[in-house]
């Protein structure tokens, strides 16, 4: 089998119930079902997670490096856009 011909998949793993899925890496596979099996073998052998998502890399629309300045500039001169001035209760630890 020609490895180059296999589509690339991005792998997301939820490490604990209640947390979000996180991107852990990518791998090659024939289709989503096989990507799921390989994700288990490549990324989950030491019980690192409770749930796996696989996404065809070609299905991801990504922002472009060249757009960063105009598209992703945080506009630091407009501090009212940031929610940094609120006091959060201690129970809210992931904000």
């Amino acid at each position: 089998m020609n490895r180059q011909s296999l589509p690339l998949f991005e792998i997301f793993i939820r490490s604990k119930r209640g947390l979000d899925h996180r991107h852990v890496g990518s791998l090659h596979a024939e289709d989503p079902a096989q990507a799921m099996d390989y994700a288990r073998d490549v990324y989950l052998r030491r019980s690192e997670g409770v749930s796996i998502w696989v996404v065809r890399s070609s299905d991801i629309t990504a922002s472009q490096e060249s757009d960063v300045e105009s598209f992703l500039d945080p506009m630091d001169d407009k501090p009212y856009r940031h929610a940094t001035h609120y006091k959060l209760p201690k129970e809210v630890d992931n904000m």
């Binding site: 791998l27 090659h28 596979a29 099996d37 390989y38 073998d41 490549v42 052998r45």
Partner: protein, 253 residues
């Protein structure tokens, strides 16, 4: 040693030998897999089998109670003392051959360990309960690959069909009871393997059909592994597996 204890010892050793020989064969794919992801997957499966062998050998050593260890059982017995089914010792062949053997063994392990999990021997039942979870995943992989290869290209279809044709007769001994096994079945310890064939057949046949493969004819069968009669391949396997302990006795990591 009373007869039943001796039979239990042989039983554990045979199950350990099945796992070790196949685990060793699968380990030969390490760094030779068709691509990285499959290489890792095959090696993981190999480790499952080697882990299983350790559990059976450790228990065998305990049953025997003569001071032999799991390592002694793995490294210091010769061909004629090995009791594995012949199918497990055959060389890996091409990828289609490896996966065809895997389907036949995984389908067998699913029915066998389901039975062994009901054993009155708590240790065997516990090992079986662990093994069946692994085998469910192994079978999922081997089913998937057989369907991909059988229903794939002309070449993959031909290779996997040839593999099944070459392997088919090795299935017979998985369902033939060894001489001292019936007594363990009567005691509720062992699985009556002669009853497992219909379930095995239905799994394997349905996968082959879906993979557009022909079911080979039942016109030849070979056995003898449980009696210590092996193919010429086991000696080479053991030579590689045992060389270090034979050359440097007692050597440790």
């Amino acid at each position: 040693m009373e007869f039943q204890q001796k039979s239990l010892l042989n039983y554990c050793i045979a199950l350990g030998d099945d796992s070790l020989t196949l685990g060793h064969r699968l380990s030969e794919w390490c760094r030779n897999g068709p691509f990285l992801e499959e290489d890792l997957a095959l090696t993981n499966v190999s480790l499952d089998f080697i882990g299983r062998a350790r559990l059976f050998y450790s228990y065998a050593a305990e049953v025997e109670g003569q001071g032999r260890s799991e390592d002694d059982l793995a490294y210091l017995r010769d061909c004629r003392e090995y009791r594995n089914f012949l199918i497990n010792e055959l060389p890996i062949g091409d990828f289609a051959f490896t996966m065809a053997r895997q389907l036949m063994v995984d389908a067998y392990d699913m029915v066998f360990f389901a039975g062994l999990a009901q054993s009155k021997d708590p240790m065997l039942a516990a090992i079986a309960a662990k093994a069946i979870k692994e085998s469910r995943y192994h079978l999922r992989r081997s089913e998937d690959w057989i369907k991909r290869l059988g229903d794939g290209t002309e070449e993959s279809h031909e290779r996997v069909q040839n593999a099944f044709n070459q392997l088919w007769g090795y299935a017979a001994e998985m369902f033939e009871m060894a001489d001292d096994e019936q007594q363990l079945v009567d005691a509720g310890i062992a699985v009556n393997r002669s009853e497992l064939k219909p379930d095995w057949t239905s799994t394997v046949h349905s996968v082959l059909k879906e993979a557009t493969l022909d079911i080979p004819a039942d016109d030849w069968a070979i056995g003898g592994g449980r009696e210590g009669e092996h193919t010429e391949h086991l000696g080479f396997l053991l030579a590689e597996l045992q060389f270090l302990q034979r050359t440097y006795p007692g050597q440790q990591w």
